[in-house]
Point group: C3
Chain length 207, copies 3
Amino acid sequence: MESLTVIDIVGTAAFSVAGTFAAMKKKLDIFGIFIIAFITALGGGTLRDILIGEVPVKWLMDLSSGIIVLLSTIAALLFKTVIKNYHNVLLFFDSIGLGFFTVVGIQTGLSLGFHPVSCIALGTITACFGGVIRDISLSNIPLIFAQEIYATSCIFGGIIFFLLMKLDMTKMPIEIICLASVVLLRLLSVRFNWHLPKIWKTTKSPI
Amino acid sequence: MESLTVIDIVGTAAFSVAGTFAAMKKKLDIFGIFIIAFITALGGGTLRDILIGEVPVKWLMDLSSGIIVLLSTIAALLFKTVIKNYHNVLLFFDSIGLGFFTVVGIQTGLSLGFHPVSCIALGTITACFGGVIRDISLSNIPLIFAQEIYATSCIFGGIIFFLLMKLDMTKMPIEIICLASVVLLRLLSVRFNWHLPKIWKTTKSPI
Amino acid sequence: MESLTVIDIVGTAAFSVAGTFAAMKKKLDIFGIFIIAFITALGGGTLRDILIGEVPVKWLMDLSSGIIVLLSTIAALLFKTVIKNYHNVLLFFDSIGLGFFTVVGIQTGLSLGFHPVSCIALGTITACFGGVIRDISLSNIPLIFAQEIYATSCIFGGIIFFLLMKLDMTKMPIEIICLASVVLLRLLSVRFNWHLPKIWKTTKSPI
């Protein structure tokens, strides 16, 4: 697994668990559950790699990502009988994945010399679009489009990242603070039911 | 913005406005509205660039497209209170975008030396698939698959384009006539409720 | 059509017919039917080529795939009045396409020197994701996620393929046996209503 960083591994595992729980809600068979876990965990990074031309995509040339998804899915299935509150488990693992993959995406953008705005966009795509593709595959409106502070957490974490870079901090603490900001904002926004303003509430509905 | 042509800019702005109105119909929050405007405006061109291997995609390396989407979305949101007929506004801007992006896609195909049929396919993809990805994201059946003369306008405009090229006309008037044909056919088809023939009406429904 | 193998041609034609019948169920117009046939037949291969960076995609540079889709769609539309059992016809052509495209995808992976697991993944993507993109476009939950032995047939055929390669058999019989295994398992699973185990039946539903 030398080609994967710790950040990659934790993010992949966390999103696989989140994907497994999302797939169980839809009562898929075991193959469907694995595919949805795979899409959740690797879909965002795959879209990112396609957009920047980093192909063939990594998971075709190196089986370690797929193995992590497989093991995480099996673990999630084994532990599901002892877990009481599915909603909170899904939320927790999803937030962890969100934080880790935001950092991965920003790093990718930096390594290509992109503008900070593009780096934050790549971080957000890496973190959010696995879930978007999963939701579309399951015929749900993607969470990201209709709900709480989700992609906004990634953007917020990304802005923190580049503010800290201006302060000449070293790489490791910047990544940890960025990651923690994403997870924290996501969890707090759910806990306290924060929302972005909705345009149509301020005036009459257009429709 | 030197890397964008006038055609790119007008098409992007028109589709951003159309996307903003489509997103407001679904009552998304402001971030969701921006993302849907972005997908509507840049999704077709992004799919085109992925299909031809023109990556990293332009909007990651040059922020001007994103800025146009942002400004157009803000403008659409500001003016929405003075607009009476949302449906017609959406139709108008969508038709404009359709025309401009058909031309952009055909030009891309020509620059790669593709067959006219492939150029028209690229024009249609550039013009229509932002809307397709938007509709899929919002859990709608894409307009293009179930409705009026939509993609057909792009194909019609593309055929006009290559017929005029045979007549050795210069580039600019060909582009303007192609663009106008697309917009005109789209608007007329809605006004007079034109449809393509539906197979199953001529015989008993298969199901 | 020198750039296409017999396997490509039969697979494309079979999936085009299957796509045409799926689109007629949704009462699309003739353009919509053609696009859905095209997506069904070429969507899986297109996704595979994007994932491995084989771009511009073949069907933009060589019109023969598009022509096969067009002719197959026309043939399917002409013969639909004499066909009694739409469901079985759709199943039959879909299974044929599944078998042929599994082989095509595995061959692609082998030519790139991929690990057998990645080759089987590519075969499964090539065979299944045209249908996935079609189902998502038509706002259906993809067959592959919620139903019978579908992708599993491709994986089973792929395993057979690599087991036979270990036996030093020549290429042609391996391909035919692989292809037949996929078609057979798919048809038998529908006939005898075989399913993969569903996790949530063994315990209480998590939701």
